[in-house]
């Protein structure tokens, strides 16, 4: 747990932070969610990149999983809800499916975060692989059930593989960010 989340447990008397310091802390705390939302918007924009639509769920799940494990204050449940809503509104699938999936991933990451955050990065990667596999399978099942026919699985497999591949890279980027500009302690 980072020290900024539970000031009650911190010993000692702290001076009341000024307005600018609080704004700085708030922006640093909100940076992960803002970056994720920006990534969702950019990946929905017409760039014509190959695999752009399949990359979006991988990046979203990676970001939500990572920040839910390492800093839940920056990726709280309402923020995850808003991100899921954004993805669902920008997409064209049955509404609410991605929202539910991303909330469940968030819940899994929250419930296991004390073990996950101490684990090695490779172990965490394996855990993310399993979680995102389950999430993708749930997404496929829900979309198939709601559209009343079996959607081809190959696109979802591709989406899962992309998410698995992008998670370590995002881990490096996120941990660097979390130590520097997204760290509220450095405000």
């Amino acid at each position: 747990m980072t020290p900024d989340q539970a000031p009650e447990f911190q010993p000692g008397i702290q001076p009341r932070p000024s307005l600018w310091r609080r704004l700085d802390m708030l922006s640093r705390r909100g940076l992960p969610a803002a970056l994720t939302g920006m990534a969702v918007l950019l990946l929905s924009a017409p760039f014509g990149l190959p695999g752009q639509a399949e990359l979006l769920p991988g990046i979203l799940l990676s970001s939500v999983f990572f920040w839910s494990v390492f800093r839940p204050a920056s990726m709280s449940s309402p923020i995850v809800f808003l991100l899921g809503m954004l993805v669902d509104l920008l997409g064209f699938g049955p509404p609410g499916v991605m929202l539910l999936v991303v909330l469940l991933v968030h819940g899994v990451a929250l419930s296991g975060r004390y073990g996950f955050s101490r684990a090695h990065i490779l172990v965490l990667w394996l855990v993310f692989d399993g979680v995102s596999l389950a999430a993708t399978a749930l997404q496929w099942g829900l979309i198939s059930a709601l559209s009343l026919h079996l959607v081809p699985m190959i696109a979802f497999a591709f989406q899962w593989v992309l998410g698995v591949g992008v998670f370590p890279l995002l881990c490096v980027v996120f941990s660097t960010l979390g130590r520097s500009i997204a760290n509220p302690d450095r405000a």
Binding site: E8, L41, S44, A45, P46, F47, G48, S76, S77, P78, V80, F81, G84, M85, D88, L89, L90, F92, P94, P95, G96, V97, L99, L100, L103, L104, H106, G107, L110, L142, L146
Partner: protein
């Protein structure tokens, strides 16, 4: 913030996620129950984002155009050579097309003035222009034995030339329509008037006896009338031209100044020339009249 005990706050925080998951399930059900609502909300968001998407697309297009131009500049040498080769090829095809267009026009003209495949014709070469000061006629070398008769029609590739007036053993004499003694009944195609084209030994025969209330129109086509038995209707003759107001002349289609190859047509009408009888009722040719269900009381021939 409302002051709450730590345990209550933790309990509330633990409740947030289940509530949100239930809300997500509710959204799924709502989306299934009212599909148009989801579509409306999505379209609203897309409308909001459309300018941003436009901003995203614009530099892409610019960059793509710039890249394309740079690539074109790199290939300009090869492109020039390709265009030169293609130009040569196209010029060749242009010649072919022009030749084909000419041939097509000639064939169309031929088809136009051959009203019927039935008339037999004899082709001959104009061997001598026998025009004197007071006559316009040519001599056509043709196989007279193939069946050339007096009063038959002579045409070249473009229009009416004249009529056969004298028959020799190997050649025929053709009175051109510009001859002073030539009188040919014609019809005007636009004003639909009938007139007589009278030669006057000049290159352009005069038009006489045209209806005074329906004068010929400058530039309209003149075709044969079909009122004389040896000449069918609709053969192209020439074009109306006013040399001065009130004096229309016909510019013949046929190049009467330098005739080369002409054809002598036998329309087979001389076979039904009725005997001369003063005040006879003209009998229309049976081929182009309405077939009567009873025998004509006038008889035939």
């Amino acid at each position: 913030m409302i002051p709450l005990s730590i345990t209550l706050r933790q309990a509330l925080e633990r409740l947030v996620l289940p509530i949100l998951i239930v809300a997500a399930l509710g959204i799924i059900l709502l989306g299934q129950a009212d599909r148009s609502l989801a579509e409306r909300v999505r379209m609203g968001l897309a409308d909001i984002l459309a300018p941003a998407y436009g901003l995203v697309v614009w530099p892409q297009e610019q960059a793509r155009g710039l890249l394309g131009r740079m690539r074109d500049m790199g290939r300009i040498e090869a492109e020039n050579q390709r265009l030169r080769a293609e130009n040569a090829n196209l010029r060749h095809w242009y010649d072919v097309a022009a030749a084909l267009a000419d041939e097509n026009a000639a064939l169309k003209a031929n088809l136009h003035w051959m009203p019927d495949p039935s008339p037999s014709f004899v082709t001959g070469r104009v061997v001598r222009d026998t025009s004197g000061l007071y006559a316009r006629s040519v001599l056509v070398a043709a196989n007279v034995d193939a069946g050339i008769h007096k009063d038959e029609i002579v045409l070249d590739g473009s229009g009416l030339v004249g009529r056969v007036t004298e028959i020799g053993s190997r050649s025929v004499r053709v009175l051109l329509l510009t001859d002073a003694s030539s009188r040919i009944p014609v019809r005007l195609e636009v004003s639909h008037g009938a007139a007589i084209m009278a030669g006057d030994n000049s290159g352009t025969p005069r038009l006489i006896y045209y209806p005074q209330d329906n004068p010929p129109v400058e530039g309209e086509r003149v075709v044969t009338n079909g009122e004389i038995d040896t000449m069918p209707a609709g053969l192209p003759v020439g074009q109306i031209h006013y040399v001065r107001p009130g004096q229309p002349v016909v510019i013949p289609f046929a190049s009467l100044g330098h005739l080369d190859i002409v054809r002598v047509f036998d329309y087979g009408r001389s076979a039904v020339v009725p005997p001369d009888a003063p005040g006879r009722i003209p009998v229309r040719h049976p081929a182009d009249s309405f077939p009567l269900p009873f025998p004509s009381p006038l008889g035939r021939g």
